[in-house]
Structures are given as structure tokens and as C-alpha cells.
Amino acid sequence: MEKLKRELKEQIIELLNLEDIKVSDIGDDTALFGESLGLDSIDALELIVLMENGYGIELANPEEGKDIFATINSMADYISKNKK
């Protein structure tokens, strides 16, 4: 699980061009959206693509996205339960 969390942080930094952010700056429970990391709706679309292309997970219900993408912990938990 720790390996997956680190992998997610690295992917998010690269995918979303978070130039001034390091892996160590993103806590497992840091809120990804809102003021902490400042991600927005376009970033959410990028994360949906990451889930599908990187882990084979298609989000059937977009409403779930808010909870799944809340933190690194919630993303890692969802991936580990649904990865194909």
C-alpha cells in the first residue's frame, strides 16, 4: 500500500505539473482539492483518466469521484479494492 501511495503522489505531481510540490509535501491525508493542494475540476478529469489508463478502473458513477479523489489514502484504498 505504501508503494502505491508513493506512486500516486509521483504520478499526480508529473501529470498535473505541480512544479513546486515534492512527494514529501503531499501527506496521505492531505486534501487534494480545495486550498491544500489546490486541484480543480480539470485536474479531476486528469485523475479519472489516470484511474482508467493506469489502473484499469472506470468510474461508473461520477458522484463517487469526490470521495475517491479526496486524499491519497482514499485513492489508494479505492484502487487496491478495484484494480483489474
Partner: protein, 317 residues
């Protein structure tokens, strides 16, 4: 109408430097785009996604807002010849190489209207917002739209243009047989605050902008007709700023304008489809700083069968 602010990012030291017209240097193979610290104009969250053309445009647009004190212009009008090339290339590359869903950011930002859209988002401006794409006459069409709006009910318009060079563009130009030009395919952005009202920041007057397809017409006749329409003549033009694509010999352009001095602008700005906007900034500052020059004609012949004219006049004339 009055030009109450102007801002340019180019291969000259033109950004936030009114004296740049006296520091012009000829482009060479080592010349680079001179850019400001974009973090002073754009939030880090927005900046991380932006390509060069959007960063340049937003910085110039915000600079015009600051210079003019007009926080909420009645319209934002942009001209671009090739639009957001970097994002377009990235999107197309993703389409060809990625199996599955295509990442959305480069698609969203590849559209031409991204430039005007991002400026409106940054300014929280909900007024008329449009982008004109008419090849080498994109800037002139943006100006014509601005003039029409100012002649109706608008008072202040943020208008400008931008184009960006990417390595692939140079390769394409090379393959088309223009090796000498491909080295000087450049990026640039120029924005202006046009207003019906003269203020203490006014620098010059925009008299008219016009485009014409020559269709075998005599260029000299077309030039004279444009000037006549604006109640002037070649004798009253103190300087011509020309933009051509290397296929025209400068002596051919000089011959059209009799004894009026002609300055080819591409030697300072390089080649991009909206470098006539650079000319307009150069003309504006020249009229503002040199009292011996009263009228400047911008003669855009990047495409030598579709010509653009823009006429500027000093505040005193």
C-alpha cells in the same frame, strides 16, 4: 479612438519598458524571447497548465489593465494566426500514442479561444469575448471588431494578439523550402487598451484598420484609396512599418511609398502571423515619444496577396 495602454512580449526588451523602441536590436540566430517572471501575473495553480502563448497573453493583458486602470473592459478581443500550437501538438500526439482515454488538459487548451478565455477568467470578465483567426490578418480583424464595438456602445476594449513557435513549426517551414525563415519563426504577444476616452495614459490614436485581397489590383492604388478614406495621403505619412515574409524585396515596398521611410519590422520581431501587433506597439510608442512623427502606417504583407493596413496618429495631430 485612443490607445491608452500597450504591452508586448517579444524578442526585444519590450515588456514594461517604455524605452524599448530606442533599444531595438536586430534578430540573430541566438535571439530568444524575453519573458517576465510570470508568477507576478498568474497564480501558480493556473500557471502550471499554461503554454507559452497563454502565459504571454495573460501577462500582457494584465499589464494593460494595470497601465490603463480599466479593470473591467467592455470586451476582450484576440487575434491569433495559429493559436495554441504547443497544446495542439501535445493533444494530437496523445491521440496517436495513448491507448484508452486521452488526457483532457491539452485538448481543452488547444482551442484558439483559450487565450481570450483565460484572460476573461483571470479578470472575472463576463463581457464580449471573441477570437479572430484569419491567417496573417488575424490581428487586423481583431482591431476591426474592436473599432466596430467602440463605434457602438463600448468604451474600453482589451484587444491583442499572440502566436507561438514550436520546433515542429520550424521543421514544417524547412520542408516547405523556407530554410532561412525557419530560424526566425518566433513567438510574441501584444495587447492594447483601446478607448473612446482620452486619458492621462493615452499614447496615440488608432484611426483605422483595413484588410484587402489584392486579386491583381495595383497595390499603390489600394494604399492610396485606404489613405483617402481616412482623409489623408502618402505625403502625410511620416513612417511605414512593413511586415513581410521574406518573399518580398524591401525595395519593392519602398517603391510603393515614394519617399516615405519604410522600416521592415520582421528584422526586430521575427516571423509570426500576428507580428503586425508588435508593429502597432512600436508605432504607438514612436508617436508618443517622437514629436516629429505624426502618422504611421502599418503595412502588413506577410501574405502578399492579402494585405492589412493600420493607421495611427499622434495625439497632437
Amino acid at each position: 479612438m485612443y490607445i491608452n495602454a500597450c504591452s508586448t512580449i517579444s524578442h526585444q526588451n519590450s515588456f514594461k519598458n517604455e524605452n524599448w523602441i530606442n533599444e531595438l536590436t536586430l534578430l540573430n540566430d541566438e535571439s530568444e524571447l524575453i519573458t517576465p517572471n510570470y508568477k507576478e501575473f498568474i497564480t501558480p495553480t493556473a500557471l502550471r497548465r499554461m503554454s507559452k502563448i497563454i502565459k504571454m497573453s495573460l501577462a500582457c493583458g494584465k499589464d494593460c489593465i494595470e497601465q490603463s486602470g480599466i479593470e473591467n473592459p467592455d470586451a476582450i478581443i484576440v487575434g491569433t494566426g495559429l493559436g495554441c500550437l504547443a497544446d495542439t501538438e501535445k493533444f494530437l500526439d496523445n491521440s496517436l500514442t495513448i491507448k484508452g482515454l486521452i488526457p483532457p488538459t491539452s485538448f481543452i487548451q488547444s482551442t484558439h479561444n483559450t487565450i481570450a478565455g483565460q484572460i476573461s477568467l483571470a479578470l472575472k470578465n463576463h463581457n464580449y469575448n471573441v477570437t479572430h483567426t484569419q491567417n496573417s490578418l488575424s490581428f487586423e480583424h481583431a482591431l476591426i471588431d474592436s473599432i466596430l464595438c467602440l463605434n457602438e456602445e463600448d468604451s474600453n476594449i482589451l484587444v491583442g494578439s499572440a502566436d507561438e513557435a514550436i520546433p515542429l513549426l520550424g521543421e514544417i517551414i524547412d520542408n516547405l523550402g523556407f530554410e532561412k525563415i525557419s530560424k526566425h519563426m518566433t513567438s510574441g504577444a501584444s495587447f492594447f487598451m483601446l478607448s473612446n476616452n482620452k486619458t492621462n495614459t493615452s499614447k496615440a490614436k488608432l484611426i483605422d484598420s483595413y484588410t484587402v485581397g489584392l486579386n491583381n489590383s495595383d497595390p499603390k492604388k489600394v494604399i492610396n484609396e485606404f489613405l483617402e478614406q481616412n482623409n489623408t495621403s502618402l505625403n502625410n505619412i511620416d513612417l511605414v512599418l512593413s511586415n513581410s515574409f521574406g518573399s518580398i524585396n524591401i525595395s519593392e515596398i519602398e517603391e510603393l511609398f515614394n519617399s516615405t521611410k519604410v522600416t521592415p519590422v520582421e528584422q526586430y520581431t521575427g516571423y509570426h502571423l500576428t507580428n503586425a501587433a508588435f508593429s502597432m506597439h512600436l508605432a504607438t510608442e514612436t508617436l508618443n515619444q517622437d514629436s516629429t512623427i505624426k502618422r504611421i502606417l502599418i503595412y502588413n504583407t506577410l501574405n502578399n496577396s492579402n494585405i492589412g493596413f493600420t493607421l495611427l496618429q499622434s495625439l497632437e495631430a
